[in-house]
């Protein structure tokens, strides 16, 4: 086959594909929505300052959606795998939700109520797969609230701090129910803890699943 013949074939294929473009009659974007979208996007104040795939320690301060997005940006480092696979492959970095235990505002514990719990930005049933250097890594089995990620990391700090604020002590192999606010702070004082039927019932009631 001559090159010219191939070029004609390519042109035909190109035209045929273009004719099948589903957005031929795509309506214009609503200008008001575009304005709002841009406003929302640019109101996010933190910037990626590092290019490393390791997590930026400030990420747990960032609002809900952005926490997962930082992980997505980190995983862009692995774009060498150009396949969009149906299942996550080893070559792609797992998405992570980063939470933390914070010492402030602990005060008195109230009886955990489903109403309060229902307002949590994150709720997850997960098992601890590693504890290292004050951070517990959990593998989620069910999400009640919040963007689903492959992993959850809780910066647990010291055991003393954990005990003081009524936080669960994370042990490898144990299953937990963890809820957190949209700033990534785990809800302690009975809202999060080792998995029990009672706590699971509370989560089910709170998140309406």
């Amino acid at each position: 086959m001559s090159d010219l013949h191939d070029a004609d074939d390519d042109r035909d294929l190109f035209d045929r594909l273009r004719a099948a473009d589903p957005t031929t009659h795509l309506p214009d974007a609503d200008p008001t929505r575009v304005d709002r979208l841009l406003e929302d996007v640019m109101s996010q104040t933190s910037t990626e300052t590092t290019d490393t795939p390791t997590r930026n320690p400030l990420t747990w301060l960032v609002a809900a959606a952005a926490v997962v997005l930082i992980a997505v940006a980190g995983s862009l480092m692995f774009l060498g795998d150009d396949r969009v696979e149906p299942a996550p492959t080893a070559a792609e970095a797992p998405t992570v939700t980063e939470l933390s235990l914070s010492g402030d505002g602990a005060g008195r514990c109230m009886v955990p109520s489903p109403d309060v719990l229902g307002g949590a930005a994150y709720g997850v049933d997960a098992e601890v797969i590693a504890v290292e250097g004050g951070t517990a890594t959990l593998e989620p089995t069910q999400w009640y609230a919040g963007e689903e990620t492959d992993r959850v990391e809780v910066a647990a700090g010291s055991a003393d701090l954990a005990a003081l604020i009524g936080a669960p002590r994370f042990e490898v192999g144990q299953r937990y129910l963890v809820a957190a606010n949209d700033d990534g702070r785990v809800m302690v004082c009975g809202f999060s803890g080792p998995y029990t039927q009672d706590l699971a019932d509370l989560y089910a009631e709170a998140f309406g699943s």
């Binding site: 294929l13 589903p22 957005t23 009659h25 997505v72 060498g80 396949r83």
Partner: protein, 174 residues
Amino acid sequence: MVDEAGFEALVREQLLEPLRRYLARRTDPATADDVLADTLLVCWRRREELPEPALPWAYGVARHCLANAARSVRRQQRVAGRVATVDPPVEHPPQPGARDDALHDALARLGPDDAELLRLWAWEQLTPGEIATVLDVSPNAVSIRLTRARAKLREELGKVEAAAGHEEPGGGGR
């Protein structure tokens, strides 16, 4: 330093419509909306690294965000107890008017990589160099794979149309 005005201008003039279209071609409107927002957010956070031109790189981000969204849907389906399908998601939403069924079937028989390559070539109309940026491979690899993908599509089209010819005696598929 990329300031807000600069970023907004870039998005409005160069990125928004193409990204919107890219996503509308590949997923349902609700997911497309969400992923568009995710994509622009990543572009905003990484605005100091935005290359010139930014669009091919932004397509790469959209592609990744779309993959994450698709994984999330499948995970939700598993959690809800429904069986996750093995088939790739619907390639494009149903369009009004006559549909090129043969092409649709033939494309479905190609792997997802080849199909995406052909879409970037024909729908986004990117050059091999630009496609290379989107997929983060070399332009050379793109050229080679694109030639192979086109050949495969022609081959599958031939098979699909031949089968249609057998099923409808005396008539073509269209």
